[in-house]
Point group: C2
Chain length 121, copies 2
């Protein structure tokens, strides 16, 4: 039986989940991990603009939430692979839609911004 949660309530734990998703890097990371495991520096290279520190922090939070897994291979030097968990996989279905909505509707958003800014004298 599932507890009743209400995102509109302050202190509702679902707010934590939204906070985690409410982070552009999380969305990009989850989207990037869709379909394949990726190593740390590969993620760093692929997701342009993320700093090492923030990437590391974000990965740790996602791991804590059970959305991604972290696997260490005892190679020299060490290899670390990040991958989606089953739970994370269910989330990326929503998340990737978001990322691709952004790509599809970008032109319209940019036009709206331009038009809005013009009304401000």
């Amino acid at each position: 039986m599932q507890a009743e949660y209400d995102v509109y309530e302050d202190k509702c734990p679902t707010r934590m989940v939204l906070d985690r998703l409410a982070d552009k890097w999380s969305v990009l990371i989850l989207d990037r991990l869709d379909n394949e495991a990726v190593r740390f520096n590969q993620l760093r290279r692929d997701i342009k603009g993320v700093s090492q520190k923030v990437l590391s922090q974000t990965l740790k939070k996602l791991e804590r939430d059970g959305l991604i897994s972290r696997t260490v291979f005892a190679t020299v030097p060490v290899t670390v692979e990040y991958a989606l968990t089953p739970l994370g996989k269910t989330l990326t279905d929503c998340v990737s839609e978001l990322a691709h909505w952004a790509e599809r509707n970008m032109d319209e958003v940019l036009a709206a911004q331009k038009s809005y800014d013009k009304t401000l004298d």
Copy 2:
């Protein structure tokens, strides 16, 4: 014809859209506006925990992006209604899935966190 955007690229404008969505209040506001227009103070009351200032700022950004509309009625005192635009409506279909994913999977996330924290001694 649609330009080619790649969310993984730094400086890609789609990042702006993700940044906007990457805000817990935006998600909650868009979800709350689904199906009905809502007034400022009503939003403030419904979305528990948001400050007047941040709500105001967030609404302005969403309006600028063309996702919501702002309508002023010349009553005394004034009435201001916020509603989704057609563009915003297409987005809420993704967004509401996110909010409800959070509600559905909250238990599992909380369990994962608990388990993760225990491994840290």
